[in-house]
Symmetry: C2
Subunit: 207 residues, 2 copies
């Protein structure tokens, strides 16, 4: 049985780099036949950015509430009971040309809209805070049926979120993501070149 | 028995904010009689910065390698086996006036020097990367015997690290921390006002 986070998202263990050479490629049915999750693609992208001296971006560890740890003699501490916690911030942050950048990545199987329930209020507040303090905040949305990946400014997400709170629709129509966002072409290296979008959008501001 | 990380650091569970009102104040013998750890003081400081619209800084979750999760019906997923992982970055990062800031906080019981074994090579490389990309990187060092807290630029730490790799001493003398760092006075709110140091050091650069 698939293991799931409280939010229903499937738990996919982080790949250990040391095992990649010997591990057979895992095919995931819900991610076409490329065998990579959005998270893996972003991790590879971030690795590419670091190695090529473009930006320093890392994914934050999964937040876990640790309840019980056993400490056997002569071996590493074992966490025996812990729970997934709701993230209070977004998953990715880092630095590009001195500027703070911050984003969350999500995917949907829907084809015509992106549901706002993919976010928690804490994350929306965090993104608003980042914008207020001069950081660059955005989301990366993957439409898994069509393999399209978009960069959407946090400003747009927050505006739809506020409309929802005022009784509006609970999702962002895909046509608005196309209008206010930027399609990120899927490449080989880097796979999801979101820094190129930032470069274009903020070139007047980043020297 | 005290639970410890593989590096020998004691594991202190993160306080749940919702419990603070009802929980009796915990006194920790190794942190004077203030009953607060360095991490708790920094979390309160960061909370103060957010609430007072000064900066957005968060501690990253403790990195954990999850091995086994059970998913009972009608209740939250339980992590049954997991291990503490070595951090590949520093613990704290965020944004101040658009600029990326990044730091690690450590304490020592020694009185005349600060041992470099408090850091891993990954963290040193990460701090160098942050500097190379125009971010502000530093460490916060607490001398627990004297209750003194210093801001030390990552540049100074890295320079001592490189000297150690070349056969030099394995610690930074306290007199050099006093010379190259800044004493952070302990306050009530915020408790550890490191942003004031950044403000002073980088005022020519942050408008």
């Amino acid at each position: 049985m698939a293991i799931r986070y409280p939010n229903g998202k499937k738990y996919i263990p982080v790949q250990n780099n040391q095992n990649q050479a010997t591990k057979p490629a895992q095919k995931k049915l819900d991610y076409s036949n490329r065998g990579m999750t959005l998270e893996e693609d972003l991790n590879e992208t971030n690795q590419y950015y670091i190695e090529n001296n473009i930006a320093i971006v890392h994914k934050k560890p999964t937040p876990v509430q640790i309840v019980n740890v056993s400490y056997p003699k002569r071996s590493a501490a074992v966490i025996k009971e812990a729970y997934f916690k709701q993230a209070s911030t977004t998953d990715y942050n880092g630095v590009y040309k001195g500027r703070y950048i911050d984003f969350e990545a999500k995917e949907t199987k829907l084809q015509t809209s992106f549901p706002l329930k993919n976010f928690h209020e804490h994350q929306i507040i965090h993104m608003q805070n980042v914008l207020d303090h001069g950081g660059i905040a955005f989301i990366i949305i993957r439409f898994s049926q069509t393999e399209e990946i978009y960069y959407l400014p946090a400003e747009t997400l927050i505006s739809y979120w506020n409309e929802m709170l005022a009784g509006g629709r609970k999702s962002i129509p895909k046509k608005d993501i196309e209008r206010f966002g930027d399609l990120i072409p899927i490449g080989y290296a880097p796979r999801i070149d979101y820094i190129k979008i930032i470069m274009r959008k903020f070139e007047w501001d980043l020297s």
